[in-house]
Structures are given as structure tokens and as C-alpha cells.
Symmetry: C2
Subunit: 218 residues, 2 copies
DNA sequence: AATAAAAATTAGGCAAGCCTAATATTACTG
DNA sequence: CAGTAATATTAGGCTTGCCTAATTTTTATT
């Protein structure tokens, strides 16, 4: 079994690879984990010996298949626990991340399988992030960033890329919830502000920063 | 916040004090934690500095009030998680201990309070062990060991002192469940075997070892 | 290409928690 | 009460996962 530290590395590398392509840099990892580069070098040497990551000198490193499967398993746990916290324990969607960060490190295959069944095999967590099944397969997610849409396009709001409390609370405040239909009414050239039409009625203006953190499907 | 290691010490010391009176010996703790005495000495020095335990040289040590409260909080978490695993996730009562050993170290007061409410404020875990409330108060438990009862006495089976899978499976096998009424029909002088009458009908013969692990109330 | 800046690694250290071996203390027993 | 056994403690070490400081390698800039 892997240590919590290793699991956090695996998860972070997985997410960096997803976001920025194949190879991941020591510095990028150090930044997202909030630790120093020397420590990352250290750890990656160990994880490389365990065949969880593969080096390519002066190109960075990436997960091996073994590492990828381990990472997905952790992500699965994290997201299932988030569903539990919101659906069953009635936490708000902006409160669950830190607790799930702890729960994801509980080691028990049977626990996570039973939790999955208890939650009725959810396909996405409270932030719209897809939950891989027991075999590590994601129900395909073809969402795009709202910021990539042209005026006139519309779709369904199905996820966020910023999981901070501040951002999630802002969405609550402007009345935007997962599943809502969203239409891009106008994009202001000058400041890149987006004017959106929510659920076919309310209109709100959001910054590029916000538009770039919203995932739209369909 | 305390480390998992510290929490395990706190819990173990609490249980030893409960079982054997005031002072706890280094050797006893080393034995139940499965680590060496020198390590225990080490750790207790640190925990003593943190005012979690109080030394009395050559008499052993015991929990301070601060330590006692911390221990009870961990026990509360452990037992609530056990209820969750059995009542909600449908684990068997002999499967939950190891998983709860991990879950008990999750740090979030809000989580445990919401879990408590979700489970409808249970007073005992699946093994009959009392669950302290949020203030650390136990609903009083006046159970006695079945092995201390004279022939003819009867009561309700409300708990166990042995939480091993082997023992719990044995109870399942002989058909003894929490809440059942039990009458001591006979105690054999020679080998200390107990003949019990379960639920007023079935009669079973159990060893002293078993009788000494069953808690009877009422 | 020379130089500066950025990225990565190496070397040496530290705290937590464990270990073994050696020593000291306390308790038990004849 | 001496001698042994049981208990405890000290001393020195190890691994994990982090740190700082120094150095090397790579990349970017002129």
C-alpha cells in the first residue's frame, strides 16, 4: 500500500498531466503540493524505484500505468467521499474538499465499493468532476470551458475547475448551480467579461477568470 | 491536533486504565500496541511534555484530564464509524474494527457531529460498546461479565470485551446476538464451562474464556 | 556564443516513531 | 538479604518526508 504522501504526489501528478499534457516538471509539482523542489526530487526518486513514475531526463516525468491506476483509485475515493459528505451528511459543496482529502487515504477496497453502492454509483462528485468506476473507467466527459465558447452558444453547467470555497460561494451567490442551462449572450472585447443568460432568464456578468473555471457540456 | 500515533497511545492508555484501574505500566502499553518498551518510553516522554499523560515514577502513568478528553473523542469517532459501517454500508460486525481504526483519525469536528446526527445519535456501537456524546458523556452502562454471574441469574447480552473476528464469528455461529436474553443454567465446577439458555429456549455450553468476554445488563 | 536566469539535483540536517543493545532500577524469591 | 527476574530507561540508529544551502544543468536572452 502507498503512504499518504505518495498518494498525494500521485494525485497531483495525475492532475498536472491532465491539465498540461504529458510531462510534468519538478517545479510544477513542488508548487501545487506546496513543498520545496528538493523534496520533490527526493520523493520522485523513490517513486521511480517503485515504478510509479517514469523519468525522462530534462524532460520531466509522468505516471507509469501502475501509477496512473493508483492515482485514479485515489481520485475515485476522494470524489465518492465528497458525494457522501454532500448527499448524506448535508455538507455544502464548498466545505467538503479538505475532509475528503483525509478520507481518500483510508485503505479498504471493500469500504469504497460498499460506499459506491450505498451512494448508488454516482457518476460525478458535487463539483461535477467525473467519478471513475471500480475498474478506473470514467464515464466520458466532453465538457469544455465556458471561456472557449462564442457568443450565442449554450449548454449545461456541469463542472468547475476551481474548487476553492471562495469561487464556489460566488457561484452560489450569483445563483448558478450544477445542471443549470447557460447561454453566452455577449463577450465584451475590452475586458473579456461574459454576459450569461441563466436558465433562460436571469442575466449575469462574470469575469474571464470565472468563465474560465466553468465547465459546459452538451 | 494529535498525530495518529499519539491518538493510538491515548486510546490504548484509556482502555488499560478502564480495565485495570488507575496506573498503567510501560510494558502493558507496549504489549497492547505491539511495539517495544523503549519506544513507549520515548513517546510517553513527549506526551508527558504535552500534558496528555502524567508520570508517577515507578508507579506508571495515567491520562491527564486533557488526555482523557482526547481519548474519549477518539473512542467516540471509532464507535460512530463502526455504526456507520454496519448500519449503513452493511458490513458484518466482525469486519468493521480495522476500518474504523483508520477512520477514527480523520480530523473534523463538524464531520463527526454530522455523522452522529445522520446515524440518529446512537448510544452503542455494533459490539455494544457505549458511545460518548459530543460532550464526552457516556450513557451509563452497568453491564457485568457473564463469568461473574451465579447459576440462575439472567439478563440481556449487551456487549463484548473481545472484538476479534474469531470471537464474533463464534457468537454468530452459536446464534448469540446483541440484545438476546441469556440465563446461566449451570456452571461446571471442574472446567468452568457455562451452560446458557438463550432467549428462553436454546441451550449452549461455552467455555470460561467466552463467558468472560460477554457483557450482561439488567 | 556568453551570460543570466530558471530549473533541477546533491548534500547535509531534522522531527516523528520506531528499532536493538546496553544499562539501570524495582520486585520477587529462596 | 543476596541473586535473579522483570521492568524501565538510555543511547545510538534507521526510515520517511520534509528543509536549507550549495551546486549543476538547462533554457532563454542578448
Amino acid at each position: 500500500m502507498h503512504s499518504s504522501a505518495e498518494e498525494n504526489y500521485l494525485k497531483a501528478i495525475y492532475k498536472l498531466q491532465e491539465a498540461n499534457g504529458e510531462m510534468v516538471a519538478t517545479s510544477a509539482l513542488a508548487q501545487v503540493l506546496g513543498i520545496h523542489m528538493a523534496s520533490v526530487t527526493d520523493m520522485l526518486k523513490k517513486m521511480s524505484n517503485k515504478k510509479l513514475v517514469a523519468y525522462q531526463k530534462s524532460k520531466g516525468f509522468k505516471l507509469t500505468e501502475k501509477g496512473r491506476l493508483a492515482a485514479i483509485s485515489i481520485i475515485r475515493k476522494h470524489r465518492l467521499w465528497e458525494v457522501f459528505l454532500v448527499d448524506k451528511l448535508r455538507f455544502r459543496w464548498d466545505e467538503v474538499h479538505e475532509i475528503a482529502e483525509q478520507l481518500e487515504h483510508i485503505h479498504s477496497q471493500e469500504l469504497i465499493d460498499k460506499l459506491d453502492a450505498y451512494l448508488d454509483f454516482p457518476k460525478a462528485d458535487p463539483h461535477g468532476d467525473p467519478i471513475p468506476d471500480a475498474k478506473g473507467i470514467f464515464a466520458i466527459n466532453k465538457s469544455v470551458l465556458l471561456a472557449s465558447l462564442a457568443p450565442g452558444s449554450q449548454g449545461k453547467f456541469t463542472g468547475v475547475t476551481d474548487h476553492s470555497s471562495a469561487f464556489l460561494n460566488y457561484l452560489d451567490k450569483i445563483g448558478l448551480s450544477l445542471g443549470d442551462s447557460v447561454k453566452v449572450k455577449e463577450v465584451e472585447e475590452f475586458d473579456k467579461n461574459y454576459t450569461l443568460l441563466l436558465k433562460g432568464k436571469k442575466s449575469v456578468v462574470v469575469s474571464f477568470k470565472v468563465a474560465n473555471s466553468l465547465l459546459i457540456s452538451e
